[in-house]
């Protein structure tokens, strides 16, 4: 007898409909992209016992375990329970029954660069923030991609997400420690945005140009620069890959505090719910906003959000991307 499946339910349970009619593929989330190594043995166990013994590492920092026969799904879900407990429930994700597998898959794993647990450039613990975001927005069926990166180097490619969160350092100078060596000035000019200059032999920062990368703190030999211990974030939005109009995300917020970031992300779902085109099988957030317009989207995201005084909101979105239909190669 042939397999009879409700593919919608299968996919919502984080299993894929694949190019192999008999087998599915489980998507394991790793919020923040960092996990205790002991959990890998369970992933191996599932791959060896139910799958084809291989694992695919995804760009979203998950594991895909292919080759699982559809009828094994309930058993795989029970085997998966300890992982859901450790990687989701433990960070505050509300899951009622961890023996049923993932309750949703639309909102994707919240990815993170390696952050300040390892990287000297990082302005925050990106994994910890990604986990707090996961606990804020997951489980959810709407397709939303979020990633957190520790500095504007953007190793996690936050610019290709619906929401990219970039750690910012509010750098402060203790002018009495500046010896005018220009190490910070030269570095900011050559590698960052040229936000610094010497005035009367003391480094002075142009707040409009500074992107809060924190490099001046790394360069200064006398410790004149340091980060304000309060954390700030830039949020870039509506970046995407895909077939129609790939583009880099544009800056929406700068110098926002974490509660603002979390509140904005909470607000996204209401906007999608109100505006999504239900005649389509799926409409990505970016295309919804293309139809509805930035001002309405901005107002929805900021609805009821108490902005911290330092936060700045973009007047318009300045996307860098292209349309395939307008591309020279397509016309020729």
């Amino acid at each position: 007898m042939s397999t009879d499946l409700n593919t919608k339910l299968i996919m919502r349970n984080a299993y894929r409909i694949t190019s192999d009619r008999r087998h599915t593929c489980l998507r394991v989330r790793v919020p923040g992209g960092h996990l205790e190594a002991r959990h890998l043995s369970l992933i191996q166990h599932i791959a060896d016992t139910y799958g084809n013994g291989t694992v695919h590492i995804t760009t979203r920092q998950g594991f895909e375990i292919p080759g699982i026969p559809y009828e094994m799904i309930p058993e795989v879900n029970r085997a998966l329970a300890p992982l859901l407990e450790a990687l989701e429930v433990a960070i505050g994700v509300p899951l009622d029954d961890t023996t049923q597998g993932y309750p949703a898959a639309g909102t994707r794993n919240v990815a993170a660069c390696i952050g300040n647990r390892v990287c000297p450039f990082a302005n925050n613990d990106t994994t910890a923030l990604a986990q707090r975001i996961e606990a804020t927005i997951f489980p959810n069926h709407y397709h939303v991609k979020v990633a957190v990166t520790g500095c504007p180097n953007d190793c996690i490619k936050a610019h290709l997400q619906d929401f990219g969160i970039i750690g910012q350092a509010a750098v402060e100078i203790d002018a009495a420690r500046c010896i005018g060596c220009e190490a910070c000035v030269t570095n900011c000019r050559k590698r960052v945005t040229g936000a610094l200059e010497l005035q009367n032999m003391i480094a002075v920062r142009d707040a409009q140009r500074c992107i809060g990368c924190g490099e001046c703190v790394l360069k200064c030999p006398t410790g004149a620069w340091s980060r304000n211990p309060h954390k700030f974030f830039r949020m870039v939005i509506l970046g995407r890959t895909g077939k129609k109009n790939p583009r880099l995300a544009a800056t929406f917020l700068e110098w926002a505090a974490e509660p603002v970031i979390l509140a904005v992300l909470r607000n996204v779902y209401k906007f999608i719910d109100e505006h999504i085109d239900r005649s389509l099988p799926k409409e990505h957030l970016g295309y919804i906003v293309d139809r509805i317009g930035y001002p309405a989207f901005r107002d929805a995201l900021l609805d009821g959000v108490a902005l911290n005084p330092q936060a700045r909101v973009a007047e318009r979105l300045d996307f860098h991307g292209y349309w395939h239909t307008a591309d020279g190669i397509m016309q020729w």
């Binding site: 300040n116 000297p120 990082a122 302005n123 925050n124 613990d125 520790g150 750690g167 350092a169 002018a175 009495a176 420690r177 500046c178 010896i179 005018g180 060596c181 190490a183 005035q199 009367n200 032999m201 924190g214 703190v217 790394l218 360069k219 030999p221 006398t222 410790g223 004149a224 340091s226 980060r227 304000n228 211990p229």
Partner: protein, 350 residues
């Protein structure tokens, strides 16, 4: 009740008593000690440990070395030497209060090195330093063992000292105190319980560091072309001339000075003196644009020779006091202690 003069007192103080001691001291002295500045470290979420004015015992960082040394209390990173206004010239008013600085044995030796440079090097003592130096008393923060892997005070002979006015040990929330200075003794709270406390000192470095014999080193330099040894070429490839080894060092004491005119008031201005260091670009710049130690290996060599050779030839003791701050701060993992041990090996092999 009066103490007999010159009688050392040794006491154990509870937390509250220790703060009374600090309060009493603060009536006459500004107190400086290493403190932890949360989140102000070079990397995010890491603390900076720096010298700052303190008022309570719990502010003092007892366990770890300060990143920057206490030299900045005597020799500030940046200091206005005088203000200029038309033809008039005026020195700034320095805070007239006396100071008590909590610091470790190596740093107490470090102050003796700064004294050599600023007070004993020329015909006249350097007045800005001398003024502050006269107002400072030293409180030893005891190190019973090396603080961490970077220390090499035992090798440099700077692990022990008796050049302190008082000494403290943090002992499970209580403070053991030895007071040797007559002026400080009255600050002890009346309730202080006598204790059997004299500071202990580290007796071994975590890793052996071999200090080159200065005379053999001199002959190697003069007669055997030691400056051309390939070890310096290796440092040329590794050192990025960031200058942190200098700025964190307890004994680096070079400075430069410049004049500025105030933007709003161009006929007024000031002369400032700021730290300058042999690893940092422009240190050897001369009129005409020539720089005679352009290459980073030669800067490493120059610093090393100053620390363990040149200074010794002039003052009869090494400049380096083995505080380990250079090694702890170098982003390229260049270890000065390893360097001087390597020099010793080269001299042995000759």
């Amino acid at each position: 009740m009066h103490d007999t003069p010159s009688e050392t007192r040794r006491v154990r103080l509870s937390c509250e008593e220790a703060d009374i001691l600090l309060d009493n001291l603060a009536a006459h002295y500004r107190l400086f000690a290493p403190v932890r500045l949360p989140g102000r470290g070079r990397f995010s979420d890491q603390d900076a440990i720096r010298y700052a004015e303190v008022h309570t015992v719990h502010e003092i960082e007892h366990a770890r070395r300060s990143h920057f040394s206490p030299k900045e209390i005597l020799f500030p990173v940046s200091q206005t030497l005088f203000y200029l206004m038309d033809d008039a010239l005026q020195e700034p008013q320095d805070d007239p209060r006396d100071m008590l600085v909590f610091l470790r044995a190596c740093d107490i030796h470090g102050i003796a090195r700064l004294d050599d440079i600023f007070l004993n090097n020329g015909p006249e003592p350097e007045p800005y330093y001398a003024r502050r130096r006269a107002r400072i008393k030293l409180a030893l923060l005891e190190c019973r063992h090396s603080l961490d892997e970077h220390c090499f005070c035992v090798a440099m002979g700077t692990n022990r000292t008796d050049a302190y006015a008082m000494a403290v040990r943090c002992d499970e929330g209580q403070l053991l105190v030895e007071v040797r200075d007559d002026d400080l003794r009255p600050a002890l709270p009346a309730s202080a319980a006598p204790a059997d406390f004299t500071p202990e000192f580290p007796t071994a470095d975590p890793q052996p560091v071999v200090v080159p014999d200065a005379d053999r080193l001199q002959s190697a330099i003069r007669d055997h072309g030691f400056f051309a040894h390939p070890m310096w070429a290796d440092y040329a490839k590794r050192c990025i001339a960031c200058g942190r080894c200098n700025t964190h060092c307890m004994t680096c004491s070079c400075f430069t000075a410049y004049d500025i005119a105030y933007t709003e008031q161009p006929n007024a201005g000031e002369r400032r003196r700021v730290w300058a260091s042999c690893h940092i670009d422009r240190f050897t710049d001369m009129a005409g644009g020539h720089a005679f130690r352009d290459e980073n290996g030669s800067r490493m060599r120059f610093k090393t020779m100053h620390k363990i050779h040149d200074f010794y030839q002039r003052f009869g003791r090494h400049m380096c006091v083995g505080c380990g701050r250079c090694d702890a701060s170098c982003p390229e993992y260049i270890s000065f202690a390893t360097c001087i041990s390597a020099i010793s090996r080269v001299l042995e092999e000759r």
